[in-house]
Amino acid sequence: MLNETRIKVRFILNGESRNIECMAADTLFDTLRDSLGTMSVKQGCDFGGCGVCSVLLDGRPVYSCLMPTWKVEGSKIETLEGLKGKELMNLDAIQQAFATNFAQQCGYCTPAMILNAKALLERNPNPSVDQIKDALSGVLCRCTGYMPIVEAVMQAAMMRRKKTQV
């Protein structure tokens, strides 16, 4: 029969402290979607191939489907739900650039793409095209052919740089 042992885990999700109980087999993906309702975290493959489940762990992208929940004890987790900006309709510059550049079709990879772009731009405000491609290489998109996404990240980088100059 199945075991019922729960493990207590504390972490910060999108700025809010969370105390949860999980099974040893649970991944962060399971916890975020089944227990915490952050539905922007998507699933596309059976583990670590498509990248649409990406979240930021202490500012760096990880595949939530490969991250055991018990391992994130004490960490800071960010999902797209936590991304807020001061732009139009509370959008972050990256979100705005994705919206205006047609950088999403079905939108299923969009949360992951935006989070990966954010992790990149926070470390490297002025990335080259190759650096953008490297940063996004862990997420697949079947609709756009990627070009509009790269363009959106370029534009977002520019918008963010302008803002910090002001």
Partner: protein, 789 residues
Amino acid sequence: MSSTSQEQNLLFKEKTLVGVPLQKVDSILKVTGKALYTKDVRLPDMLHAKIKRCPYPHARILSIDTSKAEQIPGVRAIVTGKDFPVQQNEDTPAVAFSEALYANQAVVAVAADQRRTSELALEMIFVEYEPLPWVTDPEIAMTPGKTPTKIVHPSETWYEDPNVGRHIKIRKGDASASFKECDRVIEEKYTTGMVSHFQLEPVTFVAQPDPDGGVSVWATSSGPHKTQYELSRYLGMDADKIRAKVPFLGGWFGSKEECHVAAICAKLALKADRPVKLELSREETLTATGQRHPSVITVKDGINKGGKIVARQIRAIFNGGAYSSLGNNVVINAVLGAVSVYDIPNFHMDCYRVYTNEQPGTPMRGPIGFQIAWAIECQMERIANELGMDPVEFRLKNVLKEGSENAIGELMESISHDKVLEQVTSAMKLNGQGKSSIPQDSTQENKWVRGRGVALSAKWAPGGSPHQAMVRVKESGKVEVWVDVVENGQGIYTGITQIVASEFGIPSTDILLMPLVFGSDSSMSGLSGGASASRQLVNLGNAVLEASSNAKKLMAERASKKLGVPSHDLDVREGRVFSKTDFRRSLKISELFLRAPIVGYRTVASFTEGVEFVGYGTFYFRQGKLDPETGMTIGGRISPFYMSTAQIAEVSVNVETGQVRVEKIVAAADVGVAINPDLAKGQIVGSVCMAMGAATSEELVFKDGKIINANLADYEIPSIFDVPLVIPILVENPLQNGPFGAKSAGEPSMFPTAPAIRNAIHDALGIWVNDLPITSERVLEALQKLREN
């Protein structure tokens, strides 16, 4: 008409969103992660379902023992084949009944409180099988004597060959006689592999029992009505009691036509009397749901001295897998793909869809036509090369002209074959015979050689199914649009919004597109054929236009008395009803409404007396049929129109490893009128990248009757590093019956990519690869052959 009113009317007319790159109306939902996909649907007390699958490509099911699983706490329902009405031979059953006909076919399904409980239950269910002989090669399956006749299905009685699900014949002129008189006869065989849509969202369903004994289903499906009617058949339930909802789709491309899987979910929900969610894994999505039909296509051409093709004979065999699903139906696309580009006086075609022990083939973006275009455009290059003719000139010489008739008797109207070819050749020069004019990279000792290749194709349009729409004009001038439109990423919510907004001359923000709020819902809107075959923009676009015009008529009738103008002289735009001949005679839409408080409250509601300003529209293109003996159309055309598309690819090929790098593709497509040019370009670029994957790396590989690469490590779709630079070119040749002249854009650009890449590889190295995907190994093999000769 006075000149002022003419000017004023012009002003009215100018307020249009047609041709405007409007930001997608669902973009904010998507960049904030709020767009709801079927996978995100969660209901109170929802159970989780899992499916136990057959490990053999063909087996008799001797027994299923569920007794142990039933005793596990938390297991709420188990279904087997016995829970469903018996289906006809060619229909994929929800769960195999007495025989499983392909590896990973569903045999038994469980719903339990938790996913892991369902998983455990599957381990505690015992199935006894008797493995049976199987066949995966369609050429063997269809050859009498090679395999037991009934290995998959007893053939339809009207076909002599075993395992043939459909055979279509075209007989125009006398091809075999003409071959004897031709200067040159060229015959080649081309193949394509099984390719997956690989939409990122795996197949998922949620079902909830309804209070009236019916069931609501949230579906990853191309259309709610399709799901509703198919479920009715699978459940043996009145269609009126089935509500199908399609929220945002995480990619589609022809996948997710899996109503037989939806039926499992619905049955479990009804049996457990609780909501059930059934999420297929990626592996299940790849091995147990439909993929693109693999094909073997032989093309034989007779050409005269001037380079005119006088006779063509095609034998096309499509591996249909174990059941038809939509397959026996869509295989007609082989004909539409084969007759729509070139003008060939003697044309013979035999097209077969053959049953084998693989999962049922399903439509995929440009279904069947993709395979045909591959064969024909490879063949065209071969002929041009053998004749020493310029590949573009050779194609132009044989291309169908506007106003001519194709081989099945359809009039070719509003085509742009010449134009799209012209556009791509002027954007990127072809090098004809030899690649001398492309700058070659000399720094790497010429391991990478560049080449360019062209291909031309045409995509048919869908007909035959009804599309309905309803619009309601509100006191504010805002317009509600009720239509079963499915947003799979192509931007159709935006397209429909732009069409209605343009018709009413109002901003897009004044359009209340109800599917954006509720998802597409079979119980809320009229019929539609769903997203398949690039149908929505034209079919639903026409339906919303008719609905809008009918709503306007109601308003004109109501306003006619008030304005003292006959209703036929009135139009509605920009929130006003006005006389078409004298714009000064007009009133605000709100003037047609009354206002009254809702009982007990202070707020006042607006209403109309009698009928609301609700307009309905139905667009239905009645299709003809093909004569079973000659293949000529009877009772009207099959495809309402055709869309021309051409591409030139530039590739680099590594002469040592055989690796192919696609550098650049120029892609032109006739979109009629681009309602939203950026969305149309997005469809072209997306198609090209997807087709590039199929051309160079993607294939599901079978070994011992089972797929061995059903995961992302071994089935490789293009990553951000692999995609070429794609330059989309919109060719606008308005379609008379299209909404504001629009044609569609979702599929046509799938066709020329693979052959253009292959022809570019020939340009680079002089080798011919006739099989998809063009793997490095195949390139090296061809090089070896070339060197040996």
